[in-house]
């Protein structure tokens, strides 16, 4: 017997509706109900950041948000990062700097780094590392990720009018 709730949220700028049970996480609904598999599950308990999304403008782990809690809220996922004009500077820098190897953590890192750069356009290396401490990568040792984020910050600054 299911007790599904009807939820309306704004996902990547689009009004979206879905049915979900109270115990389903936002991560589960994004992946299994809405087919948005760009957000990944790495641990399901808030320790790896692979499921990072932005909820009402704040960076969160979607495995620790109940889908029902998104009623009336905005959710931004990796699928919304690139625009019709092309890749976001972060995505472009990740490619240029080879900041991904297996790529499973990459959506989480890009969402997290984008949240940082929109708040702090010129972070130091240490600030980037602290902000991203909740995103685990096992392949890269973070070196090229940090370089890509710092590089994207410069590109984004240069683009400002």
């Amino acid at each position: 017997m299911s007790n599904k709730t009807h939820v309306q949220a704004r996902i990547n700028g689009e009004d979206t509706e879905f049915l979900c049970e109270p115990q389903q996480s936002l991560l589960e609904v994004l992946r299994d109900t809405l087919g948005m598999t760009g957000t990944k599950e790495g641990c399901n308990d808030g320790n790896c950041g692979a499921c990072s999304v932005v909820l009402n403008g704040r960076l969160v782990d979607s495995c620790l948000v109940l889908a029902v809690e998104t009623e009336g809220k905005s959710v931004d996922t990796i699928e919304g990062v690139a625009g019709p004009q092309g890749l976001h500077p972060l995505q472009q820098k990740f490619l240029e700097e080879a900041a991904l190897q297996c790529g499973i953590c990459t959506p989480g890192f890009i969402v997290a780094a984008k949240a940082l750069l929109e708040r702090e356009p010129n972070p130091s290396e240490q600030r980037v590392r602290l902000w991203l401490a909740g995103n685990l990568c096992r392949c890269t040792g973070y070196d090229k990720i940090v370089r890509a984020v710092l590089g994207a910050a410069k590109v984004m600054e240069a683009k400002k009018p």
């Binding site: 992946r31 299994d32 087919g35 948005m36 598999t37 760009g38 957000t39 990944k40 599950e41 790495g42 641990c43 399901n44 308990d45 320790n47 790896c48 692979a50 996922t77 990796i78 699928e79 990062v81 690139a82 890749l87 995505q91 990740f94 490619l95 240029e96 700097e97 080879a98 991904l100 190897q101 297996c102 790529g103 499973i104 953590c105 990459t106 959506p107 890009i110 290396e125 980037v128 590392r129 602290l130 991203l132 401490a133 909740g134 995103n135 685990l136 990568c137 096992r138 392949c139 890269t140 040792g141 973070y142 070196d143 090229k144 990720i145 940090v146 370089r147």
Partner: protein, 758 residues
């Protein structure tokens, strides 16, 4: 960051964007758990709560009766298990072990071992069903430590296992599966000649590969008995052959579709979920998907062995090692087959020794069955050997890098385990480390220390296949079976591009399933850039040959008169006759048909890899916590096809090595149950725990490969724990002999040195 070598190539050595990059940075790339199929059922696995127990019976009736449950399977459902139970032949025994690791037989041998699996309409129902499966366990005393396991009278995991001793099967029942030995020269005479002798014992804890993506597997049978498997694996052909053996189904009936893979490091070669998906899918007639939780990954897959090791080394005052003795006791986990052999072969490999002996013991314990983890076995033995060398240097007052120059292996030297080195670049890595500014920079503060260590990995070759077809617009489609875990699509494509005189972007690589390409061995063993690169090279040569012939046909001139130079086909004699690759490609369909080249190889000519690392640490003597201040990793890559991905492999291996050195460990309670099976308490480095990692790529090309490639993926994980142990030793004046060197362990070592708390 590459050492300067003259520019020999057009494409090789450049840094094009990887072909699968856009998919991965936009979240569109599909990994195994992303797969969705109509009518999909979801599977879950029941796992043993006991580290050691006899399974008296399993009653699945209540689970099967639960609404929403479509099938339940246990070990008796695996065809191979029942078939080979009587045979003691080595293949049959290995198959029985594999089968029992997929689903237990008559014993549970580790906490987390798979006992049964359920397929249901959703994951919640599947989990409820697990709770309804009644297993009658008779708990047995567990053995959870290698030195306890080898004691006389220790509980036996496999009552029928007979110890193999120095090449001969004995009639002794013990937990030692195998004891082997490598010897060279006269150990005792060598020790007599020594002016200093250092002897140390080590204990290292089990660690996990820690890939961020958990295991997955989806299976679907067609009505005519054909099985399709989708999974994230390092080797789709390996999955196919394991399934064929377990299910006793011909390989021709199985197709394995490799999805993108979120990290493997050796842990995603053996099958875990794929056979369960196949069995459940057959029983239900529906596709069945299984994924592991993070706790299941820790408890139900294959970490690397914990070990106990002894090293005794003698050297004369001129700085030459006169004798070295190494004993390695590795925990294989529940079934035999730890990488102690590799650990034994690598331990002393960087050094040219006259007198040495290495003893290796493969020991079963009630822990998950060990799987490969990046240079399997080598990090552990390097921890022991490279720190003893450091102590020898300290006693002799010789710089540890100079010492390595005095003793380092070079071409023509024979390893303790037998093989003679061909062209290698070990000494080059040591010289590069010596010359690096890092080595001369003052430490700049109290409680700081610098450590160095070297490492070796043989690398592998193996079978691979590739075909290349020419497209009318001058691009080529390259088809391969090598799963791309870290950028091999691009490095393989670059090798084909180099042959054909094309830019890397003009090659379109695709990774395909087992029906669509020739046999391809795993993406592992640091073999892919070599073996699939070789297959691509030869397929490209085949294309080039055919295109030269086609140009000859078009120009009605003998093919010897035509050459391909920087992407242009031209006549050697008539400058008017030339066609770009694209122009010729556009003419193919009209001049005789499409051109496709192919190759299957069994790549020999493997070039081993050496690394030498330098690390600076700062230790807080009040808390025992170590910070990595600076890290420089020097490695011989042969020829760096794509330097960014070579750097990435080095940096990733270093990061894993740092985690192994400082904080990662399987924490077992007295009952042999893992207490820390989550990323909260299994502590892998975060971005805040590491500095930028400097890489120096030394290039001593491997003569066995057309572009000089040496595998790069594994050796970087070998030196870090030893280098960090040496650095901590220089910072604090204590020798660390355990891994991890967590803050508590460092404090204990400090307190022991001070004879009590300060």
């Amino acid at each position: 960051m590459t050492t300067s070598t003259p520019k020999k190539y057009d494409v090789i050595g450049t840094r094009p964007i990887r072909h699968d990059g856009v998919e991965k940075v936009t979240g569109r790339a599909k990994y195994g758990a992303d797969l969705q199929l109509p009518g999909l059922l979801y599977g879950k696995v029941l796992r043993s709560p006991h580290a050691h127990a006899r399974i008296r019976s399993i009653d699945t009736s209540a689970a099967e009766a639960l609404p929403g449950v479509k099938a339940v399977v246990t070990g008796s459902d695996i065809p191979a298990a029942s078939d080979t139970v009587q045979s003691l032949g080595e293949t049959a025994v290995r198959m029985r072990y594999l089968s029992n690791n997929v689903l237990a037989g008559d014993k549970a041998l580790y906490k987390g071992q798979a006992i049964a699996a359920v397929a249901a309409v959703n994951v919640n129902v599947a989990e409820e069903a697990l709770a309804l499966i009644k297993v009658d366990y008779q708990p047995l005393p567990p053995v959870i430590n290698v030195m306890d396991a080898i004691k006389d009278g220790a509980p036996l995991l496999h009552e029928d296992m007979l110890t193999q001793e120095l090449g001969k099967r004995t009639d002794k029942h013990s937990n030692i599966a195998n004891h082997f030995q490598f010897k060279k020269g006269d150990l005792e005479a060598g020790l007599q000649k020594a002016d200093v002798i250092v002897e140390r014992e080590f204990n290292t804890a089990s660690v996990h590969q820690g890939y961020i993506e958990t295991h997955n597997g989806t299976a679907l049978w067609s009505s005519d008995g054909n099985l399709t498997i989708w999974c994230s694996t390092q080797g789709s052909f390996m999955v196919r052959s394991q399934l064929a053996q377990l299910l006793m189904v011909p390989e021709s009936k199985i197709k394995v579709v490799p999805m993108e893979i979120g990290g493997g490091f050796g842990g995603k070669i053996s099958v875990y979920l794929e056979p369960l998906a196949a069995l459940l899918a057959r029983k239900t007639g529906h596709p069945v998907k299984l994924t592991m939780s993070r706790a299941e990954v820790f408890e139900g897959t294959g970490p690397t062995p914990g070990t106990h090791m002894k090293v005794k080394m003698g050297a004369n005052k001129e700085g030459r090692i006169t004798a070295a003795q190494v004993s390695l006791y590795y925990e294989a986990g529940a079934f035999p087959g730890s990488p102690v052999n590799a650990g034994a072969m690598c331990a002393l490999a960087p050094y040219n020794l006259e007198n040495a002996q290495v003893d290796g013991y493969d020991v079963v314990v009630n822990k998950p069955k060990a799987a490969a983890y990046r240079a399997p076995g080598s990090t552990q033995s390097a921890m022991a050997v490279e720190t003893v060398i450091d102590e020898v240097c300290e006693k002799l007052k010789i710089d540890p890098l100079e010492f390595r120059l005095l003793n380092g292996a070079k071409e023509g030297d024979r390893r303790v385990d037998g093989p003679t080195f061909g062209r290698i670049g070990y000494l080059e890595t040591v010289r590069a480390a010596l010359a690096h500014p890092h080595y001369k920079t003052p430490l700049g503060g109290p409680h700081r220390g610098r450590g160095v260590a070297s490492g070796f990995w043989f690398n592998a070759g193996g079978q691979s296949s590739c075909y290349i077809s020419v497209n009318a617009d001058g691009t080529v489609s390259l088809v391969e079976g090598s799963v791309d875990i870290g950028g091999t699509r691009v490095s393989v494509a670059m090798q084909a591009a180099e042959v054909l005189g094309l830019p890397a972007e003009a090659v379109k690589p695709t990774v395909v399933d087992t029906d669509s390409v020739g046999y391809t061995w795993v993406t592992g063993g640091s073999s892919t850039t070599l073996k699939t690169g070789l297959a691509a090279y030869e397929a490209a040569q085949d294309v080039k040959r055919q295109l030269l012939e086609r140009a000859a046909k078009i120009w009605e001139t003998p093919v010897e008169n035509i050459e391909l130079v920087k992407g242009v086909f031209r006549s050697k004699h008539d400058p008017a006759l030339k066609l770009t690759f694209a122009e010729l490609a556009g003419k193919l369909l009209a001049t005789g048909g499409p051109v496709t080249g192919s190759a299957s190889v069994d790549a020999k000519g493997v070039g081993p890899a050496f690394a030498t690392h330098i690390v600076d640490v700062e230790v807080d003597p009040e808390t025992g916590k170590t910070q990595i201040l600076r890290y420089t990793a020097v490695q011989d890559a042969g020829t760096a096809i794509h330097p960014s991905y070579v750097e990435g492999q080095i940096q990733g291996g270093v990061a894993q090595g740092i985690g192994w050195a400082l904080n990662e460990e399987y924490f077992f309670n007295q009952q042999g149950q893992m207490a820390n099976s989550s990323f909260l308490d299994y502590r892998m480095p975060t971005s805040l725990d590491l500095p930028l990692i400097d890489t120096v790529i030394v290039e001593v090309p491997n003569p066995g490969h057309p572009f000089g490639v040496r595998g790069v993926g594994e050796v970087p994980i070998v030196p870090p724990p030893a280098a960090i142990a040496n650095a901590i030793s220089h910072a604090l004046g204590v020798r660390m002999t355990t891994l991890p060197m967590s803050p508590g362990k460092v404090l204990e070592a400090l307190w022991k040195k001070e004879g009590g708390r300060s």
